[in-house]
Amino acid sequence: MDLQPLWDKIELSPIADWVSSSPIGFPNVEVIHVIAICIVFGTVTIMDLRLLGLASGTDRVTSLSRDTLTWTWGAFLVAAISGSLLWMSKAHVYMRDPWFYIKMSLIVVAGINMAIFHAVTWKTIGHWDGGKPPRAAKIAGLSSLALWIVVIFSARVIGFTLGVYE
């Protein structure tokens, strides 16, 4: 199915047009996107390092979660909105870049990893809140850390490959 007309329509929308044609549009939206992603990664890492038993060992996991989770989700929302604006400005180019699909797939996998952790391992939090996390929590922390590092690497590679696959 040829989706090119759809990408063209998205790229010609007023907001996408502003992002791509204004000299400050794309760079400033990207600045917001990078700051948001950095806060997502940073807050997620604080939790992951606690789950791995590498940092914040004296803090209760529930307390750290309260401190970071709101910021993780808030920053993720900003990253998603700003990322969508960047994508809209060059939709057809992004849709031909395999690194874009790698990045998006890994974000989904990171989300599934987080959902499983909260649905399964988090139920036993009462037993290990102030102490050593169980193996399942460590695996979730390590997976999350690895996935987000590769997400950021993919995002950087997109900067070099955008337009190469056209």
Partner: protein, 183 residues
């Protein structure tokens, strides 16, 4: 915004016409170590990724300290415990950013060495580092009054924390703008 654009343009003209930086950048580009970074497959994206990860941890550490000053996060920790937890992150991440940042500049000398956004960032980073050192010193010396200021949401402590956070955000913005400022 126009003022910033005019300032960058003036700075760019000055770098090009009144400094040895353009010639130095071209000389640097011909050196073997610059060549290795530029021609090694994925070296630049990998260095940029490490740089970004370090920036992410640094800005989050600054955010967590700021939130503790506002008593929004880390309420179960004292300010001293929060600083003990996050200040080392700022210094270690700064070191990683310094190493990876200069390796990136060595790999792409004309992109960075003649770039007004790059040099503005290079002015702001030591200022931010000095302020971090200052905050670390004053908080360590006057921990009781800072603790009280944070607990009672003292205006001075809050304004300083916000300015400190904004300074690091500005440095991040300048870092991204390096890719877009025409050199």
């Amino acid at each position: 915004m126009q003022f910033i654009a005019d300032m960058m343009l003036a700075l760019s003209h000055w770098i090009q016409s009144s400094t040895p930086l353009p010639g130095f950048a071209l000389w640097l580009q011909k050196q073997w170590y610059s060549d290795i970074i530029a021609k090694t497959h994925y070296a630049i994206p990998i260095l940029q990724t490490i740089h970004t990860l370090a920036v992410a941890m640094l800005i989050t550490a600054v955010l967590m300290i700021t939130l503790r000053v506002f008593m929004v996060a880390g309420k179960e920790r004292t300010l001293a415990q929060t600083l003990h937890r996050f200040l080392p992150w700022i210094w270690w991440c700064l070191l990683v950013c310094f190493i990876t940042g200069w390796l990136l500049a060595l790999g792409e000398p004309p992109r960075d060495m003649t770039n007004p956004a790059f040099w503005t960032k290079m002015v702001f980073v030591p200022i931010a580092a000095l302020i971090t050192l200052g905050i670390q010193g004053t908080m360590t010396k006057n921990l009781v009054s800072w603790e009280a200021a944070a607990t009672h949401r003292g205006v001075v402590a809050q304004v300083l924390a916000v300015l400190f956070f904004l300074l690091w955000l500005t440095i991040m913005a300048l870092g991204r703008w390096i890719a877009y400022v025409n050199t």
